[in-house]
């Protein structure tokens, strides 16, 4: 996958292409001229200090926020501004949230089948069969009929991953998927994400798990104050960052 590293453009269309994107919240500019291409099968870690705009970028990519300038293409197709088409296209990019956001009134399996049945028109029985497979894949056999309240944080987050995968997305966005978890269950979620990456899923992962970024990601993108300041291969970025801002950031988070 290293042929997709920055500076060596591959011939294929990127799955996610962010071009010259600005995002304003009133007077405040949260994203400044962001350019980012993510190719098929590539796993990109997005890191940066709190408030640097990582979540905002994820939310813009699947249009939970509208962008102020620029364009975002998914598989070469620009996302429409609003309306029914947007709703359907949005599910091409799966999103996993820090706070899981499972639907608390639905059992695990129904959380997973809701999208396929109501958005894609898949029959209930087929969707249920696929949901069972997905839940097994994320290690939740036996928990299919539990309500979210009866699941641990790690289990809930794995249901959330299965729910996003059920839409057969072209790419997955993870916004700090383990930040709300107790340390002992972080790994069960990271393991699922690692398997997903190995299976070839295109992923953008906002994370503070530097070990995960090093082991699994093809590229690290570092943001500061709404800008992409530096990007590169994980090993190189963590051992020899080029920019002063990246050095400062790493000196705060990495153990010496």
């Amino acid at each position: 996958m290293s042929e997709h590293s920055p500076g060596s453009p591959s011939g294929a269309e990127p799955v996610i292409s962010v071009r010259g994107v600005d995002k304003h919240f009133g007077d405040f500019q949260a994203l400044k001229d962001i350019d980012l291409d993510i190719h098929r099968g590539e796993v990109v870690a997005l890191i940066g200090a709190s408030g640097s705009g990582k979540s905002t970028l994820c939310r813009c990519i699947n249009r939970l926020e509208t962008i102020s300038a620029g364009e975002i293409l998914i598989d070469g197709e620009p996302l429409p501004e609003e309306g029914r088409d947007l709703a359907r296209l949005r599910s091409d990019v799966g999103m996993v949230f820090q706070s899981f956001n499972l639907f608390p009134h639905l059992r695990a399996v129904d959380n997973v089948t809701l999208g396929p049945t109501k958005v894609r028109g898949v029959s209930k029985s087929e969707a249920t069969k696929e949901a069972m497979d997905l839940l097994a894949r994320v290690g939740l056999t036996g928990k299919e009929h539990s309500l979210p309240a009866a699941l641990s944080g790690g289990q809930q987050q794995r249901v959330a991953i299965a729910r996003a995968l059920a839409m057969k997305p072209k790419a997955m966005l993870f916004d700090e998927p383990t930040s709300a978890l107790d340390p002992e269950v972080i790994n069960e979620v990271l393991d699922v994400m690692t398997e997903l990456a190995e299976a070839g899923m295109t992923m953008l992962v906002v994370t503070h798990e530097m070990g995960f970024a090093r082991r699994v990601c093809d590229r690290v993108v570092f943001m500061d104050a709404g800008e992409i300041v530096e990007q590169g291969e994980p090993e190189q970025f963590f051992t020899a960052p080029e920019s002063q801002r990246a050095k400062d950031f790493l000196s705060k988070i990495l153990p010496h």
Binding site: A160, R163, A166
Partner: protein, 230 residues
């Protein structure tokens, strides 16, 4: 007492009319109020504004004024509606404003992240409301909606002012004939109490039905009672 026994059929008619006014008024209020609530949370600004204006107007007009306006103002505007239907209309228009506000605040109890997760799997505005937001909001809405129903039962008595032959009107007529105000209004009060309690009981059954045991959150009141016993 004789006055009541002699007028059982008239009283029964009054009870029937009160129930009809309440049930019809509340049913239309539910439909209209739900539509208004959908407008109030919709992404289309003019719809939001229209619903807000509606709520502010109809929540703040006394029901009695509204009923009199409908009964005596509509004919001036060339609309002839039987008084019974003026009563139903008044109860519906007013009730809808309260239903709308209850549904809206119920919707606001649902964490925004759930709606975003629903959007991210491709559901549109109505899908998000129908499958994710409203089923959660409904549990918190049952009690407030029962309160609107009780307000409708009690508010229906104001229809006496526009000559709808419901419980209060019948009671007034019998009082004019017999001058036994205390007895008569005690009986009328007991009838309204019975109707309201019946509805409150049904409401609790509904609430229990929509919140299965393992999904029902412990309430603050439960904790307070626990603290008091400790």
């Amino acid at each position: 007492m004789q006055i009541i026994l002699d007028n059982i059929p008239l009283l029964l008619q009054g009870i029937g009319t009160t129930i009809a006014l309440t049930v019809l008024g509340y049913a239309f209020a539910l439909v209209l109020g739900t539509a208004l609530a959908v407008c109030r949370v919709s992404p289309i600004p003019p719809l939001r504004w229209a619903a807000t204006v509606y709520v502010e107007i109809f929540r703040n007009i006394p029901l009695l004024s509204l009923l009199i306006l409908l009964a005596f103002g509509l004919p001036d505007a060339g609309v002839l509606l039987p008084y019974f239907w003026c009563g139903v209309a008044g109860l519906s228009l007013s009730g809808a404003a309260f239903v709308c506000e209850n549904i809206r605040s119920g919707i606001n109890t649902v964490p925004i992240g759930h709606a975003e997760a629903a959007r991210s799997i491709g559901l549109g505005f109505f899908g998000v409301l129908r499958y994710v937001v409203l089923p959660q909001a409904f549990r918190t809405m049952v009690q407030p909606l029962v309160n609107v129903f009780i307000a409708t039962v009690i508010g229906s008595s104001l229809c006496a002012a526009i000559s709808v032959v419901e419980i209060t009107y019948v009671t007034q007529q019998l009082n004019i004939a017999s001058a036994q105000a205390v007895l008569l209004f005690l009986v009328a009060g007991a009838l309204y109490l019975a109707l309201s309690l019946g509805v409150a009981y049904l409401g609790r059954r509904v609430e229990r039905a929509v919140a299965p045991g393992d999904a029902r959150p412990l309430r603050t009141a439960d904790r307070l009672q626990g603290a008091a016993q400790a």
